[in-house]
Symmetry: C2
Subunit: 224 residues, 2 copies
């Protein structure tokens, strides 16, 4: 059931203008980042999937071999940026109290504030929301969608865009598998129905599962 | 950091119009439901918090004493509505492929499709998204926010509106507490910073924790 009243048509029209304007900034960001040889990942997920926890662990493993930087998006608080800052990796927090996603203009302003000299790998941690952020190109090289296995294996079917546009799906909190009613194989099949051949890495920071596979994925992105 | 370019101002203006139009439909829904003596809850949460699982369990417990009905919101699939239908409670599925939340017009159309004779308690399961649905009044009597404890105790601070507007916070998946690094007391304190005095019920369908407390909450809403 979808609304087709006049109001809805207006929303779609305006949305088009917003997305056009966003895409212009995204193209500028992409050109700016690629000219500097910075590989950029846009991390998407539901709230509480463990994006920041994975990122802190990743930075600790990579920071002595790859120069990294982070843009943190949140509706409120700078808690996540503070956790990243403890790794000594440069980080900028963007708060979006009026918005449910990062857009390319947010990222442009963050890029102006970040010390990018020598940076090779930029992580953009999007606002925790499996829907809206997927529609906004930020100028990244690829989208990485994270999904906690506590969310259930049906999520790729229910929120398809974030899975359809992802280059990689990172499953998180694999340490909880023995305590959940979660069918890993079915989850993968659901993801592949939306995005055939999608790469999937199953991880847990607490049990240290899949972290080298994830870090190797990042190394190949930077070193080729 | 917030965007203040012209484009953003336009978004806010249009958003205002959308919300005004929504509120008009919400007032109509509220009058329609209250005239029929139907108490209505709008359930908000992140994807995968266990809204449908809690709802199925709730309907099984209440359906012989309170006449219930359900409106299911999802971006895609009617899987949740099928799960509800197995309880024999009337249900309508709304798919919102272009939208990240239910609005009052969606609900109006669902009300036209639902057999409401004798219904006393209506659950509206919103799209899985802790941000956008909070901004849209559907005509409900109260919002109930669900949060899986796997999401972490900081969520009330990071996504404050859904917690600020809630009449009740239902924590889910309490059976996983022994396997998580989750501080229940801190979570409650965070929720109360956003919404002082907010009622909180901690539940698990798998360990049957808190379900009678939750059902009693619903009984008092219907029976007074």
């Amino acid at each position: 059931m979808t609304s087709n009243r006049n109001g809805a048509v207006r929303v779609i029209t305006i949305e088009g203008n917003i997305l056009e304007q966003n895409d212009r900034f995204a193209r500028q960001n992409r050109a700016y980042l690629q000219a500097r040889g910075i590989y950029t990942l846009n991390l998407l997920s539901s709230p509480g999937s463990g994006k920041t926890t994975l990122l802190v662990e990743t930075l600790d493993r990579l920071k002595n071999e790859i120069r990294c930087a982070v843009i943190e998006g949140d509706q409120q608080t700078s808690n996540d940026a503070q956790r990243i800052a403890e790794t000594q990796v440069p980080v900028v927090q963007i708060n979006t109290p009026q918005s449910c996603h990062l857009d390319a203009f947010h990222v442009r302003r963050a890029l102006e504030a970040l010390p990018l000299d020598g940076v090779e790998l930029l992580f953009i941690e999007n606002v925790g929301n499996l829907i809206c952020p997927a529609s906004f190109d930020l100028g990244e090289d690829e989208k990485v969608t994270l999904m906690s296995i506590t969310e259930g294996e049906d999520k790729p079917l229910k929120y398809p865009l974030a899975f359809h546009l992802a280059h990689l799906l990172v499953l998180t909190k694999m340490d909880l598998l023995p305590y959940l009613h979660f069918d890993l194989e079915l989850c993968k099949q659901n993801a592949w129905r939306i995005n055939p051949g999608l790469s999937i890495i199953a991880t847990s920071v607490y049990s240290q599962t899949g972290l080298e596979e994830w870090c190797n994925y990042l190394r190949t992105r930077v070193r080729g």
